[in-house]
Symmetry: D2
Subunit: 370 residues, 4 copies
């Protein structure tokens, strides 16, 4: 069965044209099954998530769907259509420089107050009321007297749809990157359900990303309940999946990722069909151990360290070529790190200023038992 | 007497060329007089501060200088040289989108610990040691094992010079703007020393700007001392002066601003010459009452409200022209605010997306007694 | 009577949304009256033409319209919506760098061949057939096997509408500019019909601009006819009107320009109402005498020469401030030209590289008798 | 022996810093041997030529050098340092949109006049005087009263060095590209000296590129001499080598390309050492048969056709994914060409507007006999 299409308006261009996003929905057969919200391409150059959604659509047409499924490709038309030379300049708002994935709004209410008023509700009602509260706060922001930024309007509009779901997946890519997963610490047992080799475990903090905007209010609620002696599981799971490199559409790889997402949906009971995650090595580290290595000197860069595999200390990371220094010790320098790591992504360009982020690497990582 | 010139390196371009900034110093005649650090053009398009420094140099050559004076024009060569079409794209790092004036680092130590160890020192020594502590932390950041971003390297290099001064002035401009001043609340008595009509009073918070990086550690020290019953004045004053509009060099206006800065230096005892601030209306509000008005709809914008003057509620702020809506009520809409304000700046372009920041206005403002 | 609205699709964004342009038409009462095509905002930042179209719409609603009138505002949505920082980066295609007003296509057929085949037709039929030929060639390009660029698709789509008209006006602005007119040499007698102080007289050459794409084929036809001893007036007039500075909407000034355009339409018999051009000084020079002055040195620029008025040789044009050269002869340099001129426009930014175009000036200009 | 280093200034940044380019020279042992000028990285993102120069420097240190060799890496510092997001926006001047490799100047004199005055000279003297004439015209342009653009200053400064050489190589890359060569038609016998699979044969036309600026005046001279019955070989050879993809430094591949260039230098007698070109298939077509295929529709693009290999008509070129059209025939479209070709390069981004250049392909190509 085909998914049903609708469209949501998330803004307006200077010429008056609406900025719209397509939304595809499968209605679940079972009202008690959890629901899914999945979006892609909030950063303009990170297009592969659209291909994954395409493959998911094709596969889900053949599945037995239990929970409601909402798929939102091309989620940021302003960013996707913003070219600068031959590349898509879609990581930040071209006017303000704001990262599009830092514009989501923390809708958590004052929980000491809210919990006090609602603590007598049973878990199910508590969750329903809390969800409504999040939606209300979303709506208030959208209609603020002073207006909101273009980025916030887009973010809040997507949030107001996603808040209805029990599982939220946000599909991104790195610049040049292996696949990796941002997972809240409370959900780390789920890591082995994804066919993704590298996982960053996120603390209970809010920094403006979609996944945080989704899990933070619920994790806070769980914490407050716990402080009152009540064991309330975190009701919503939210992840960011970084599915390889930007500026790339690969339909074959997209099918693999779609199948892997089905394995997760299968485990969650969102679909009735049985898909299994792969047997593969999986590594994880805390977000605080996910380190950025900045170019200590400028120059032309040859990226040497392969992505997604352990690299021991002192193994070469990059060569930096300095043709202005030919004939000196500085004409070609090989840089390495002082500690073991797993390189996860590197910068997209082969020429860097001093200070440009060359690599992001996992340190103090562990292998997750299969 | 001419100022002495030196040069500081703040980064490296991809081609290897150093990013350098010129520094001009006048040595003060009196070692007990306070010292000044003044920089300009950290945002690439905000060039007028350079003209003000030029006029200051010419005027100071004729003055009797008591305290050390350090003038740093063209402080962000990467941003100043970053063109995009006919304009300077210098508000944020072109790679990361980071606002160049949010890259400064909070060098405040753990004060409960630090103060406990140094509280027996007299005020003068306490200040000397604390300043050294700030410089040390600055230096540690600059030599971090993982490197630092291009923006942080520039910011920390400038900070490490500015930390030596007792007064720090950071010259900026708005997009299309009247002159306005960012002043920390503790220094609000000084507002009438500047020939600037509009003042925003800043709380004791750190958000990455130069002025905050300068005053925040000292204001914190004062607060901690107060909590131990010691009355320690805030040792450093720091202000951001927004001297009109970007992309404009006006040497005549620059001379007026240079003379006005001399009035402040005169009052502080940094120069012996007597310059007096002007008699003029001055308005101030709290930073939290400095509001951004975002475009509720997209379109072509005619900016109607004049800058720097009180505007009563319901007076027109902008016309928004929508030629896609000719023949409807929406072809031309006049927008107004529901409360009295002073418009301080407006957006630089005449076409806006929905959500673009149209105006920044002071609300709940007061007139400062002359 | 309101103009009738339609919409034309000129391209597609990466997300699939059509790029559309609104078109407003007044049907003329007299089939023999000449027709008008007028467009605005092909360069993204040059928005004032939209305001002029708005005022024209309002005025034409009250006029007695003889010839068909087609008004096309917001003609380049991709460019208008392309922001880079606080400005509109709309002068060239962000991917290729191609100036949007150099993408029009020369649809002139091989005239030696075509004229030989059609020379026996009377003037009216000759013109009709030639117009059809231009439209056919336009259409062939649009459906080329190898495709065409985004810019060409937009240009050819607009051309295919404009080719139907007898008069074509393309509304632009300069960066910081006085009003000026591009007029083909054959139409120079019409210069005093426009309320524009400065006119550039264009030769019979094609360089990709809309006005050239419109008049060049007809001027060529007239030339070929003349070479066969036939006096055929140039059947189409086309002008580019540069109505002041970019990034500015001014509805009052727009009304003045709309009234002035009505004076021209009145003279042409496109409207029955009588509007008269203003008495004012008007200057003209040949396009080859319209000179660009490039910055001989880099620096911060104070633009001194007023626009639209004669400037005698040696009068100051700009100050160039070089704060890296403080204390030398090069700290502040005043530049002037060696000959009399009328400065027409200057660069939009106040900081320039060596070689940036500082001013465009008319040389060897004449005053047009009133 | 190390090459000797010097530096040339090609412009000035707005902050006053000179734009400089390093120049490395090996002095040839034999004054009658031809000389070489080789430059790289005129387009900012096309960095691999620097790596080739690095490897050439290392190899040439060990060679017996007969003719003078001038190597110019990092030839366009303004472009190389121009970032926009994570990529280098270095294909065109950020202010004007002018392609940096279209700013070279045709220095050919009026040859009917010049040849008449110099025809009695023998070939060697004729060439010497003509070269001087080119240098003079270069110099005149550089000191023009009205100034020249930033791009022209850079181009003319490099030209004024390159005009001294008998062989000029300009190292570029495509976006995503196989290696290919631009070769003037008169030099097509030399194609098999380069280890490059695809060659475009250029006619005797000038369109602003470095190679054209070098060979065009000499080819014209040869043509004029021929029209006077004199057989004068074209004295200068100039080629553009496109060495793979942009934003990539690969030192191993660079060494292969350096060795291949040595094979050419060996053949020309610029070095005494014997290096041989590889046995490999080589294809060529006329420049007019090198076709651009523009996206007939917008969307997300999967590039399917491999680069550098023959592709028969109707084989898939790209998939275009349209998630706004899910559930229709347009959701996924495979595009192909109607004729055989060799795809040489494709667009760098995976999302395109309608009209974006998707592929450049050789048609009507021939295999060059080994």
């Amino acid at each position: 069965m085909l998914a049903a299409k609708s469209t949501v308006k998330i803004g307006e261009l200077a010429t008056g044209q609406p900025l719209t996003v397509p939304i595809y929905c499968f209605k679940g057969a079972c009202s008690s099954a959890p629901s899914l919200y999945l979006q892609a391409n909030v950063h303009g150059a990170e297009v592969q998530g659209n291909a994954v959604i395409f493959q998911l659509l094709k596969l889900l047409e053949q599945c037995q769907i239990l929970g409601d499924i909402t798929l939102v490709p091309l989620a940021n038309p302003l960013a996707i259509n913003q070219k600068s030379g031959e590349f898509t300049l879609g990581r930040f708002d071209p006017i303000t420089g704001n990262n599009w994935n830092r514009d989501y709004v923390n809708c958590t209410p004052d929980l000491s107050d809210w919990y006090a008023k609602h603590q007598e509700l049973d878990d199910s009602l508590l969750i329903t009321q809390y969800r409504q509260q999040l939606l209300n706060r979303c709506q208030q922001q959208l209609t603020s007297e002073w207006g909101i930024t273009s980025g916030q309007r887009q973010a809040l509009t997507l949030q107001s749809i996603a808040f209805h779901a029990d599982v939220v997946l946000d599909l991104h890519t790195g610049p040049k990157s292996c696949k990796h997963l941002y997972c809240p610490e409370y959900a780390q047992a789920k890591v082995s359900l994804f066919n993704i080799g590298c996982t960053l475990l996120m603390p209970n903090e809010f920094a403006g990303a979609m996944d945080e905007a989704m899990f933070y209010p619920w994790w806070q609620l769980t914490k407050v309940a716990a402080s009152h002696g009540r064991e309330l599981p975190v009701a919503v799971e939210a992840y960011t999946l970084e599915l390889g490199s930007q500026e790339l559409i690969d339909l074959v790889d997209a099918k693999q990722d779609a199948l892997a997402i089905l394995a997760y949906l299968s485990d969650k009971g969102i679909i009735a069909d049985a898909f299994k995650p792969a047997q593969m090595p999986r590594y994880a580290c805390l977000l605080q151990d996910y380190k950025k290595f900045h170019a200590p000197i400028a120059g032309m860069v040859e990226y040497l360290a392969p992505l997604g595999k352990p690299l021991t200390a002192q193994q070469p990371l990059v060569n930096i070529l300095r043709l202005d220094r030919y004939g000196t010790d500085e004409e070609l320098q090989t840089l390495a790190l002082q500690q073991d790591c797993i390189p996860v992504l590197h910068f997209a360009s082969a020429s860097v200023y001093q200070g440009t982020e060359l690599y992001k690497v996992m340190t103090n990582y562990v292998e997750i038992p299969r």
